[in-house]
Symmetry: C2
Subunit: 309 residues, 2 copies
């Protein structure tokens, strides 16, 4: 087995995920525990929770450096790490870390989140996504989108993260399909596969030249009028709304200046949600650069690499 050189933690509110990593970035072993999630740790006993999860790795390999990101660095976590302001690259992110020495002598490094003071109407924030952006690559000027409940559009320029903006698209989708007039009419899809024809229909309207496509507050009502007009089936509604809101995110990102037709953008991640984003990109005349696997882990290693240079 290659020699382990560090332990990387993705430590969030509901779970603690740990990886034992080699110099080349290979994951040699991993743990994924919900009991370590911040909300389940009592009285600030974070070190004990960490030892429960990775104590065996320390015993076998000595006091390896630990690199932690996620909500563990927030006000409700172990060590609050202030946001680093955009624009920021490797040097600024590394300078924003905080360190603590564990009882066994291992040093744990907490990575900072980022703040964009130029965002409107208030400074925007992220915690974790900046690490994925670094892992995707700061080598080239480009726009990246990070799909999620609160997705991020970010701009890389001159080797730094120049700015970013949060879109609450995933949350709006969940609200509409779980709690609104849409929820009552919607029928879940039988198979595992999305109804892509319905998804495309929503996305194509959002990408169209119709002026009404600028009116998302109105367009969501089409999930009802489409059914009334017998143009949407109950089992189409969920994916139709998905295409409509993600398509509207692209439309609004274009209006806000994150891309122009003809650009190449990066979509960070390789999950079901990123495949939906990838399907919409061509409707806005965008090409997609492939995402490296494990962008988050790569990003942590690159930031930490600055500390040990």
């Amino acid at each position: 087995m290659p020699k382990p050189v560090s332990i990387i933690l993705d430590w969030g509110t509901s779970s603690l995920r740990a990886a034992l990593v080699s110099e080349t970035g290979e994951t040699l072993d991993s743990r994924d525990t919900t009991s370590g999630g911040i909300q389940f740790v009592k009285d600030g006993a974070f070190e004990a929770a960490l030892m429960d999860t990775v104590g065996a790795w320390f015993a076998a390999h000595g006091p390896l450096p630990v690199l932690a990101s996620g909500m563990i660095t927030s006000r409700n976590g172990w060590v609050e790490v202030p946001y680093v302001d955009a624009p920021a690259g490797l040097a600024e992110l590394a300078a924003g870390t905080k360190q603590l020495t564990l009882q066994n002598g291992a040093v744990i490094t907490f990575l900072p989140g980022m703040r964009d003071p130029a965002a409107k109407p208030f400074p925007d924030v992220m915690r974790g996504e900046e690490t994925q952006i670094v892992g995707f690559g700061l080598d080239k000027d480009r726009t990246l989108v990070l799909p999620g409940t609160h997705s991020k559009w970010a701009r890389v320029e001159g080797g730094r993260i120049a700015g970013f903006q949060t879109y609450a698209t995933g949350e709006i989708f969940a609200l509409l399909t779980k709690h609104s007039f849409i929820a009552k009419a919607l029928e879940p899809v039988a198979g595992a596969e999305p109804v892509w024809s319905a998804f495309d229909r929503g996305a194509e309207f959002a990408a169209s030249d119709e002026r009404a496509a600028d009116a998302l507050l109105s367009a969501v009502f089409s999930a009802r009028t489409g059914v009334l007009a017998s143009m949407l089936k109950a089992e189409d509604i969920g994916d139709y709304v998905s295409g409509l809101v993600i398509g509207s995110e692209f439309r609004q990102a274009r209006a806000t200046g994150w891309f122009s037709p003809g650009d190449a953008i990066g979509i960070v991640g390789n999950n079901v949600l990123s495949s939906r984003y990838g399907r919409i990109a061509p409707l806005f005349d965008l090409t997609v650069e492939p995402s490296p696997p494990d962008a988050a882990k790569r990003g942590v290693q690159l930031i930490a690499g600055q500390l040990y240079k």
Copy 2:
């Protein structure tokens, strides 16, 4: 007492509201009952429910004509009345009514809703708002907005309702403030009065020249970042979001072509919600024409007047 000439019903899913009306439109008596709401009427016993509510009026004044609008004319109601297509004026709406003779010999007239086949991406519908628009007045070309859970923007041209569009703004506001990340942070306002300074802040951003104001999916996230940046207080959040989403409705209605800066628009209704709309209009360089009281009742009488000419 002036002589009663008709009974006007606003008969919805959750309540039945009845008015005994004189020739000049004066309300001589009224009933408001939840037990008559469509969802509470069993086995289609609508006539019995009606007699429970207004039987005494028939007994006192004879078989007066009854005029009914609301969800009672929908698929789940007593008599389904097909939508009348836009453009439509008094003649078309009157021609779209359906009549039924009650056991006591009184004739009940059910008013139609309207459909806009030109709406994108699917034909839009309304049921009840067209009556309010008629009551506001078809005498002059203008744009009207009807605030509500599903508000309507409508255009009156050449004495007819030329087209309309639904905005699910009230519903999106309720979803955000009851079920989203915003709900967790929000504290209710102590007094009865809205926090107008917070409302204005949201509305002013929506009306601003900032490109980010075109990105509502992002702007809603400002309810969180404003608190993180200590620029919004917990008790400001609700009214801030209200200003932001209603302001965004105006912004999107402008993008869709419902008005241009400098126009005069009508805001139908005289409730708390219409005062919020009225406060935003000047931010978009709009003047507001006052709404007549009881636009809905006036509209019903004008449409019914066509039948008895």
